[in-house]
Amino acid sequence: MVHTDNLVKHFRDAKGNTVKAVDGVSIDAKPGQIFGLLGVNGAGKRTTLRMLSTVLQPSSGTGAVAGFDIKKDSQQVRASIGFMSASTALYGRLTGMEVIRYFGELYGLSGQELEGRIDFVTEKLKLHDFKDRLCDKLSTGQKQRVSIARTILHDPPVLFFDEPTAGLDVVTCQAVLEFIEEAKTLGKTIIFSTHIMSEAERLCDQVAVIHGGVVCGSGTIEELKAKTGHQSFERAFLTLVGYKGGQI
């Protein structure tokens, strides 16, 4: 359902130097599976997700999402994914319902179909009490529920979560993780980007550890532990990224 083959993304910085953000990433995620992209900040996780969601064009390599080529069928790819990130804000001067409706219309929903999906997400995420309040006035947890509603409104087969719990309190964080687990049971293909190893251990069926834009380990959590000889996945991760006592 989500497949990449040797995906590369190079940027040019202000001085004209080439920056290798992603350098040959290959992953394969299947329906009903949570695929973890693990790495420290700046490892290339977000750039990979951005190429998969067609916001950035790969410098080389190929990729497909929900059967659509990320270079040739960008519009169909975008219609097939839901994207959520903790750093993604909502429109402060719109109500939660207005934000949800706006994105529904952008995803091409209208009429009965749109109203039906709005009723579904409102019920599922229990938005009734605050859906008509301006997003600026919502608590962090309420905002996160609106964000989730926006992400799943068009019922996409593929979901991307880019560090979805960063900066959230423990209760809101728990609700987000439970939602991701539920989406897996519904047969969605999920790409989950994080640097929190406990979350990866809890959720991910397969992971790819990215460092410096390169995949330095992939497989199940248990496979990576065995490969590095560590009982703790955090230690296994640190070994894979080349951590040596204060330095990477």
Binding site: F11, R12, D13, A14, V19, R50, S53, T54, V55, L56, Q57, Q75, Q76, R78, A79, I81, F83, S85, S87, T88, A89, L90, Y91, R93, L94, E98, Y102, F103, E105, L106, Y107, G108, R150
Partner: protein, 393 residues
């Protein structure tokens, strides 16, 4: 999939109209400023036109000219000495001080009036003008008496006669002179400033808040997204520019003192002039909106966008300022003036307010503004298509 232009337009307008900065900066301020300006100008005009408010300081004298000054509703205040009068002049309390002396010239009695004024002081010049008018009238009267005694015919007394005849150009409902200088400038600059308040948020602000990424991940085409944003901003720019006209209507309704003459008999802007202004301002507002969105798309964040836009505003203000003085030159009547963006719009609005609407200059102006708006919009769409709209390394 159907176009997302309307969806984005509706959302942006809703968000903008809920923004206090837009309501204040684009709607309230243009109205408030024109009302305040008209109020101040009306007050000044009233002061200038009422001669009894002009105070003339005179060094103690029994000359009959003093009675003549009083008859012209000038307020005459006597001071004991010339030094006292000069001190009042220097302190700014007096505008003109007259020293009246009786003397003789060619064996005839002559009244010599020395008028002391500050050459840099406008009110002093006006007070001197009022005194000069009285003196001229008195001289004419005395000359007339002499001619009559000598039985010189009236035609010979004044062989060259000058009469000022006002010819009404356009409708007599057209705006007054001061308004004609001021209004085009205000209409044009508010189209820019009204949009500038919010343009930074439209793209650069969305980058900063990370809402742009979720927007670009939707299947909506980027061209549709940027067109929706552009149309919303152009609507605000146009509405903001028309707030000056709304403000004028308000001035006419509340009848601010002294503003009747400034507005003209039609309350400032005739319906025909309003239609011409609308035709001229639609492409100009589109030009400003596309320029502002281009900057917003290029900038990393709203603050950077605001910095660029502030610099860009001089491109609008300078031709706008020149448009206020174009009536003092011959340029306003030349066809080539319509080839200068922004100034051409202001000049054509000026002509519309004067009731001098010519088809060709307006056509050139509208065509040029439309072409420039299209170029700026194409650049904006290209900027928006680039990855750098989201990621600038």
């Amino acid at each position: 999939m159907k176009s997302a232009v309307g969806v984005v337009l509706k959302k942006e307008l809703r968000e903008m109209l809920r923004d206090k900065r837009v309501r204040t900066g684009a709607f309230v301020m243009p109205i408030l400023i024109i009302v305040m300006l008209m109020g101040v100008l009306g007050f000044v005009v009233k002061q200038v036109k009422e001669p009894h408010n002009t105070k003339i300081y005179v060094v103690a004298s029994s000359s009959p000219i003093i009675e003549e000054l009083k008859k012209q509703k000038l307020t005459v205040i006597t001071v004991a000495t010339l030094d006292e009068g000069k001190a009042l002049l220097k302190s700014g309390r007096a505008r003109v001080v007259l020293e009246i002396q009786s003397t003789t010239a060619e064996s005839l009695p002559v009244t010599q009036i020395n008028a002391y004024v500050d050459p840099k002081e406008q009110q002093g010049q006006m007070a001197f003008g009022a005194v000069a008018g009285v003196v001229q009238a008195e001289n004419k009267k005395s000359l007339q008496k002499l001619f009559e005694a000598k039985q010189v015919p009236a035609a010979a007394q004044e062989p060259i006669r000058l009469a000022k005849k006002d010819l009404q150009v356009g409708s007599e409902q057209n705006a007054g002179e001061i308004l004609v200088s001021l209004l085009p400038y205000l209409i044009v600059i508010w189209a820019f400033y009204g949009g500038m308040n919010i343009a930074g948020d439209l793209v650069a602000g969305e980058k900063e808040k990370a809402t742009l990424e979720t927007l670009l991940i939707t299947p909506a085409k980027r061209t549709d997204i940027v067109l929706g944003k552009f149309l919303a901003l152009a609507t605000i720019c146009l509405a903001s520019s028309f707030m000056s006209v709304v403000g004028l209507a308000l001035v006419a309704i509340i009848k601010l003192p002294g503003t009747a003459e400034l507005l003209g008999k039609g309350g400032g802007v005739t319906p025909v002039a309003a239609v011409f202004i609308l035709i001229l301002m639609i492409p100009t507002a589109a030009l400003f909106a596309s320029m502002l969105i281009a900057v917003s798309s290029y900038a990393k964040n709203a603050r950077e966008a605001q910095t660029y836009m502030t610099s860009m505003s001089f491109l609008v203000v300078l031709p706008g300022i020149f448009s206020q003085f174009i009536g003092l030159t011959e340029f306003g009547t030349k066809l080539w003036i319509n080839g200068i963006p922004i100034l051409n719009t202001a000049n054509n609005i000026r002509n519309a307010l004067l009731g001098k609407t010519e088809f060709l200059p307006m056509l050139i102006t509208v065509a040029l503004s439309t072409v420039l708006a299209a170029i700026a919009l194409t650049i904006t769409v290209r900027l928006f298509q680039r990855e750098q709209v989201l990621v600038r390394v």
